[in-house]
Symmetry: C2
Subunit: 464 residues, 2 copies
């Protein structure tokens, strides 16, 4: 029987990734696991959803090359400062080439050829690809890797305010995405020292992992004119001038999958929201010699009735019924249907959802409303567990000693002086994550927990 | 008005790629164009179809890393010989890393950890990704690039015969894919000197481009035990021995899109089969002040009636109706619907398909059967044009002089001696492409066109 203790989260996470066949970490290049069939199908479901949300908001999907010329890469000063230490480098016969660590420097020399006038704005593109960082820190599958699977969006606007408005829209698109995963998160404005290299401001989505550490799962950056100036990218403005446009970029990586797995999973394995599970129902037939045909016919009938609502699998492997239940629980499949002689005779089926809610249903009762209700019940339970866990992970710190063994996020004042943060970081390995994006332009006042001078309410936590 | 002469195919191809916004070749790294929104949407439609065909045949989608350790890359001798001259190289702190030129050497050290027994066979995986070749030859967008977008499948079988049987199934899957693109092709067994490095035999799909040159658009390789031996990959056989399994690999790249564009397109631009066009109908309203509201209401009504059959766009840009027609013809959209006052008054619509077949339809006549028939009519016309062109491009060569200015494929005997082929290659820039896969095990006899000794019927042509 599968019983993976989630108290030791790090061990739990590695075991679940292995047993549920999400990734294989034995690939011989450090920090580059292989996405196995079950893991890749799940990853793809997540990114299909994200792409659809972006496409529905009139972002156009593109694909830019992996390799970036050294000269293009080096144009934005802060950007090169932020990334140059950790890029992979290659070359052709002519020159040094950078393997993209993110695509601003690949895209923007071309965007300036595509976007010439305010009449084309807002201009919105996105791409799903892998980006590469020659990390020297320790790696962890789906969380800190050297090959990062992600979707990155890039937009162009006429003014700082236009871009700022769309920044909020982008945050809302990401909220819809993470809400669909049924996970909890907080949206924070990062402190200046933790901005994206080249950004005016950075807003990030933080989730709290079961070990109390904070995982950044999405970012939305306002780049202002920093990149358009670096690439000499000008457009015709609505008042007939040539000026540098304002840009945004935002991204979500495979960490979204790490968060989904970690936040929902339990000692039996994965728990997948009904929208993202490849298989919705598994039928486990109890086959005995004398009733085999009867039961199989009934299973096929049930399959036909259920498969209009989602994919149905009949598990015919030569394993015990118990083993099959454990297997599909491990895989996180929403509903398991066990069918034996009794069910056939009473024209019933017994359905267990992944959180062990049991339904006894007459065959005639199966209809759209019932299945929708069952899905909703399971998803709401998954969501409410996540919300409960998340709430329990947010507290207020009154004095610096409260940072000792901090698990989750703590609210505390900060004077915005890096020295005060550094003190906490060195003493408790806790850092400022940012302040609530809901108070973007009127930060809540709170005196600094270190120096007691005037400050604002910030969220603090231990990062991944 | 768009009028791109297809007689100069090379110029036509570049102009269509630019005007229809398929790729942007101005990206500053040679041989790596940018996929623009319209081009990427088309590429994605093609690969979604291919992935679906593979998934339906129980291939499981995975994703292996981009970078391959130098030691793993070097294990299969012929393979390294075939690729080592043209790979991009990078490194981390520890060692040299290869940017994948294809994924055998990334996958097979891991496959041997996944596949242990005959009971897991046939084992079938595939992935869509980009592969990289540091080409020194001249590049051409979608045809010969240094970043190749493709899908590669890899399978494992117990015996040579099992693998050979699945090889034929893989060829059939690819036939279904290319048939859905409505293009014509021939399936050839490549001569030994043109096999995939490390393969026992290679079967390839060749299309004939409008300039008479031959484009390889897909390959299916039987690897025998060459790689399993190189990676010491053994399985438990059905007769309880440990033995090296037999493997296949097969792939289709963005050249499929190049073929679709080149074979179907005309002097007005792209022609896209109805299955792969993002937009199925474009409505072009003729808006005059006094009837504007009337016409717009009617357009919305038509949109509602048509959009159950595919995506409908109403083109409201401030351009002349003529310009709009040219634009959507250039983009290859299957059906254009022009609506003005006359149509509203007569409760009609006039539909033109991309090959200028004109339909005058009463609103009440729109139904599933009619639209299906219209799609079929257009697709059949596209297909029959392709078949006609392809047939006209296949001839028989009786004497070597027939290779002078060869356009398309010529059938001629070959003794299978490389010297005879080299003679033709040097004199006429024509090479042996292979023999018909339908005669795999009983090649048709034909005396060598060069030395007149005993030989077999081969197809010859000028390659890209």
């Amino acid at each position: 029987m599968v019983n993976i203790d989630k108290k030791d989260f790090s061990k739990w996470f590695n075991e679940v990734l292995e047993l549920a066949e999400i990734v294989d970490i034995r690939y011989p290049v450090k920090g580059m696991p292989v996405y196995m069939p079950y893991g890749f199908a799940l990853l793809k479901k997540l990114f299909d959803k994200l792409e659809k949300l972006l496409n529905d908001n009139k972002h156009h999907q593109v694909l830019f090359p992996l390799l970036i010329g050294d000269e293009e890469f080096k144009k934005e000063e802060q950007h090169i400062h932020g990334f140059s230490q950790e890029v992979f480098i290659t070359a052709d016969n002519e020159r040094k080439l950078i393997i993209r660590p993110t695509s601003e420097t690949a895209m923007y020399p071309i965007l300036k050829l595509w976007v010439k006038s305010h009449s084309q704005l807002p201009f919105k593109i996105h791409q799903t690809c892998c980006v590469y960082r020659n990390e020297t820190k320790s790696t962890r599958p789906l969380i800190r890797g050297r090959e990062v699977y992600w979707n990155e969006a890039h937009t162009v606007h006429e003014t700082f305010e236009d871009a700022k408005l769309h920044h909020k829209i982008a945050v809302d698109i990401y909220k819809r995405f993470f809400d669909s995963l049924l996970i909890s998160y907080i949206v924070l404005v990062r402190p200046d020292h933790d901005k994206f290299p080249g950004a005016v401001y950075t807003v990030a989505f933080d989730a709290v992992m079961p070990d109390g550490k904070i995982l950044q799962i999405g970012t939305v950056h306002h780049l202002g004119q920093n990149f358009s100036k670096a690439y000499d990218f000008k457009i015709l403005t609505s008042d007939n001038r040539m000026d540098y446009p304002h840009q945004l970029c935002y991204g979500i990586s495979m960490r979204a999958l790490a968060a989904l797995i970690s936040i929902h999973g339990d000692e039996k394995g994965l728990i997948i929201p009904t929208e993202f599970s490849d298989t919705l129902f598994v039928i486990i037939p109890i086959l005995k010699n004398e009733t085999k045909e009867l039961v199989m016919n009934y299973c096929e009938k049930v399959r036909k009735l259920l498969e209009v609502y989602g994919k149905v699998e009949i598990d015919l492997r030569e394993k015990s019924s118990g083993e099959k239940h454990y297997y599909w629980e491990l895989k996180g499949v929403p509903f398991r249907v066990e069918i034996g002689k009794n069910e056939v005779e009473s024209n019933k089926l017994v359905v267990k959802d992944r959180l062990n809610h049991k339904y006894s249903i007459l065959l005639d009762e199966i209809n759209y409303e019932l299945i929708a209700k069952m899905k909703e019940t399971l998803d709401q339970k998954i969501k409410s567990n996540a919300v409960k866990n998340f709430s329990s992970m947010i507290k207020s710190a009154k004095k610096v000693e409260d940072f000792e063994d901090l698990s989750g996020l703590a609210k505390a004042g900060w004077c915005e002086n890096e020295k005060c943060e550094q003190f906490i970081r060195e003493k408790y390995h806790v850092e400022v994550r940012g302040y609530d994006f809901n108070y973007f332009e009127n930060k809540k006042l709170a005196n600094c927990i270190v120096c007691n001078s005037k400050g604002y309410e910030y969220y603090w936590g231990k990062p991944y």
